[in-house]
């Protein structure tokens, strides 16, 4: 079903293998421009980029950054031109399409935004940011249709989608991307796991490492529009893309944030009935509650978690204790609410680090 393809927010777990980053060859001008942009000194950043582009007028990275800066300078039409040119010169890069889409959407041109995102996805089918954004575009188009259906007050729909502008090139889509957690050949329609866990601050990144994907700073309009457009509980926080995070290839050993993020993600997958993503959060050597075979346990969880109903799992006052660098115990209060059942419980998860992921090895209630 093509519909499913389009609708799918592919829940991909991205495995980031050591990144031979072309960013290393970045010139000083460009690096400085990026720093300046981070500090909000947009005009000065632009000077650097322009200087850089004088020597390398065709350079994709420089032009991309210029597009970002033009967007920051609120010159959407010029930015659109820059990104359009990039899609023409580098049709294989998904990022310019994505940003083009964001700009089109900001001008209310959702059809164009949609086509651009579809191009981005065509070049990189697992490109999570584009999927996220496409979902938002559809939601926005839907809300326009709803407004017509219900003749809702126009003031209510001055809504803008908050889309993710990609701020750097060559970092998000390059790492090999592995889609896991497929039990059959049907692509999964599932809310992306990380989308729901925007509570955690972005992982710290050193100045030298370019940050992959940064959620666009919500413009004042976007902030105002947040409420009417987004009803799903998963959308209550600024969205961060499901993108590989190269900075985390060597995370600090006892990164409590990363552990908590994994727990939040687990709760979110559960809330979203996303059973595959949910199960993927359990380690291979997960100790099943009653020592039953993993298969049986999975079967039971599958039945419970995938049931299409409203589930909300919230986590409160979580505490992380590290046994060693690769092992942490998380205790928290779990608020579980479905349309039929509500329960609060203390829960303890034993988490182990596996590559750049934290997985659940043991799950106990009480204590």
């Amino acid at each position: 079903m093509t519909f499913m393809h389009a609708a799918a927010r592919l829940a991909v777990i991205v495995v980031c293998v050591g990144l031979a980053t072309p960013a290393m060859s970045q010139s000083d001008d460009l690096q400085e421009a990026q720093q300046l942009l981070k500090q909000g000194q947009v005009d000065r950043a632009m000077e650097r980029v322009d200087a850089y582009l004088k020597t390398k007028p065709k350079d994709a990275r420089g032009r991309f950054l210029r597009g970002i800066l033009l967007t920051e300078q609120n010159k959407p039409n010029e930015a659109i031109r820059v990104f359009t040119d990039l899609t023409r010169d580098y049709p294989e890069l998904p990022e310019p399409y994505n940003n083009l889409a964001v700009l089109h959407a900001s001008q209310g041109d959702y059809d164009k935004a949609r086509s651009a995102l579809e191009m981005a996805i065509r070049t990189h089918p697992s490109y999570a940011t584009a999927h996220e954004n496409l979902g938002d575009i559809y939601a926005k188009m839907a809300s326009q249709a709803y407004d017509k259906a219900l003749r809702l007050d126009k003031s209510n729909q001055a809504a803008q989608t908050k889309l993710n502008l990609i701020k750097d090139l060559f970092t998000t889509s390059r790492p090999p991307v592995v889609a896991v957690a497929k039990t059959d050949t049907t692509p999964k329609a599932a809310a992306p796991a990380t989308k729901t866990i925007a509570h955690a601050p972005p992982p710290p990144s050193s100045a030298a490492t370019p940050k992959p994907v940064v959620a666009a700073k919500p413009s004042p309009v976007a902030v105002a529009a947040k409420e009417p457009v987004k009803a799903a509980p998963v959308k209550t926080e600024p969205v961060k893309a499901t993108a590989p995070e190269p900075v985390k290839t060597a995370p600090p050993a006892n990164n409590a944030d990363a552990v908590l993020k994994a727990v939040e993600g687990w709760a979110a997958d559960w809330s979203n009935n996303d059973v595959e993503a949910y199960l993927a959060r359990y380690a291979k050597d997960f100790k099943t509650p009653d020592g039953e075979p993993r298969k049986d346990w999975e079967k039971e969880r599958r039945a419970l978690v995938s049931k299409p109903r409203k589930i909300e799992v919230r986590i409160e006052s979580a505490k992380v204790a590290f046994g060693d660098a690769d092992r942490a115990t998380v205790t928290f209060r779990q608020h579980y609410q479905s349309n039929t059942f509500k329960a609060n419980a203390r829960k303890t998860l034993v988490m182990i680090r596996s590559g750049d992921k934290w997985l659940i090895q043991q799950e106990t209630v009480g204590g």
Binding site: L150, A189, P228
Partner: protein, 421 residues
């Protein structure tokens, strides 16, 4: 797996509740929907006006068949020709929203007023039922006992199906022509009181025609509500008044120009049609002539089935006429039920007056012409008989259109009300 069947839960629910089991056999396969819709339209007598509804219904069926891309294409077609079709916008919204997140019912708009969504869901249900139902073929509603030669068309509204049926008078036999989606009173049927926002059930006639410009002159900007035009009917009729029902201003009319249609229950008691459909029936309306029978659930019969009742009633009317001419007031009065009333006089007062009048005459001639007879919906022992009466006598003559309500008591038809029509 989060294959929550995004948009389809909605239509599945609808189909399950609203449609006959046969609907599930309406598999679309991979044929383009327009051809399916075209075939449906081509086979039915409903005509081109039904296209938006047929396309909409096809869209919903496509959703249940998980053909979401087709559904979106089809719904866009509907909106291209009918940009104000609110239900179509809602379904389009659902089809798009389902790509952003799973949805479980028609109208997944967040923060939308629940009553508005419910109204549009009702319309979806009503239109699906209409789309799926069998057209009457040769059958007719049993109320249409006899149309007179002047009555070219008759309208029968089935409030339970939110449908107005048009019948053509084909040499005295009603023949189905078309049917249209209608909106009825917000609070349903069996109007009793002024302001109860209910649609009356009964036998009515169109009393006036109000065109667009007349409406503007009479009601100003407010008249926008009536759309293309309006046809007031004679609620409360003689029978309603007899039963103490009141209220006024029950019309057939269009819808505001900013919408294609209104939800099934939204009017203050009027019967509203899309402007397109109102225009389609307008040529069929004869002011003062065209009957509008409003019923909840139509009893369909073959035209011959009405023959016995029609003949008996005809004979009763003719016997009444003859007995009046005979000046045998006793016999004449036997045609009137014990609870007869004219609305102003009870039977005794009226009978005394008749005796006195008839006694003063040496001859009476009564001609009855252009008889129409309708059974009353919900009361098979009540019939509305209308005719042109040409009365002449030794001292006075007059012509009038008369309406009588005949009631069957113990196999005998008797008059319970009569007056000028």
């Amino acid at each position: 797996m989060k294959r929550t069947l995004p948009a389809c839960a909605l239509a599945t629910a609808i189909i399950a509740t609203a449609l006959t089991p046969s609907s599930t056999t309406l598999a679309l396969g991979n044929r383009p929907l327009s051809s399916v819709a075209g075939n449906l339209l081509g086979s039915g007598p409903a005509g081109g006006h039904a296209a938006p509804e047929a396309l909409l219904a096809q869209t919903l069926l496509a959703i249940t068949g998980s053909q979401f891309d087709i559904a979106l294409t089809e719904i866009n077609k509907v909106l291209q020709t009918n940009p104000n079709f609110r239900l179509a916008h809602l379904i389009k919204g659902d089809l798009l929203m389902a790509r952003a997140r799973p949805i479980s019912s028609i109208g997944a708009a967040s923060e939308a007023p629940a009553d508005l969504i419910a109204e549009l869901q009702d319309e979806a249900r009503a239109r699906l039922v209409r789309h799926e139902q069998k057209r009457p073929g040769t059958q007719v509603p049993r109320y249409l006992l006899e149309l007179n030669a002047e009555q070219k068309y008759a309208f029968v509204v089935d409030t339970s199906k939110y449908t107005l049926y048009v019948f053509e008078n084909h040499n005295g036999t009603p023949r189905y022509v078309a049917d249209y989606y209608t909106t009825i009173g917000r609070n349903g049927i069996e109007k009793l009181r002024e302001g109860d926002k209910k649609t009356p059930l009964g036998v009515y006639h169109v009393t006036r025609q109000m065109q667009r410009d007349q409406l503007t002159r009479a009601y100003g900007a407010q008249s926008e509500l009536y759309g293309e035009g309006a046809f007031p009917i004679n609620y409360p009729n003689e029978w309603d008044r007899r039963l103490g029902r009141n209220g006024h201003g029950i019309w057939l009319h269009g819808v505001p120009f900013d919408t294609y249609s209104r939800p099934p229950r939204a009017s203050d008691g009027c019967v509203a049609l899309t402007n397109e459909d109102l225009q389609a029936i307008t040529p069929h309306v004869q002011v003062g002539v065209t009957p509008v029978i409003i019923t909840s659930g139509i009893e369909w019969v073959e035209p011959e089935a009405a023959r016995n009742t029609r003949e008996t009633l005809r004979q009763s009317v003719d016997a009444w006429r003859q007995d009046w001419e005979s000046r045998d007031t006793g016999k004449y009065l036997q045609h009137y039920a014990a609870d007869f009333s004219t609305g102003k006089q009870d039977r005794t007062t009226w009978a005394n007056q008749k005796r006195a009048v008839n006694a003063g005459k040496s001859w009476i001639k009564v001609k009855v012409d252009g008889v129409s007879m309708f059974l009353y919906p919900g009361n098979e022992n009540l019939a509305v008989v209308t005719f042109d009466q040409d009365y002449s006598s030794s001292n006075i003559s007059n012509k009038m259109r008369k309406r009588q309500y005949w009631q069957r008591e113990g196999g005998q038809w008797r008059i319970v009300h009569e007056g000028a029509a």
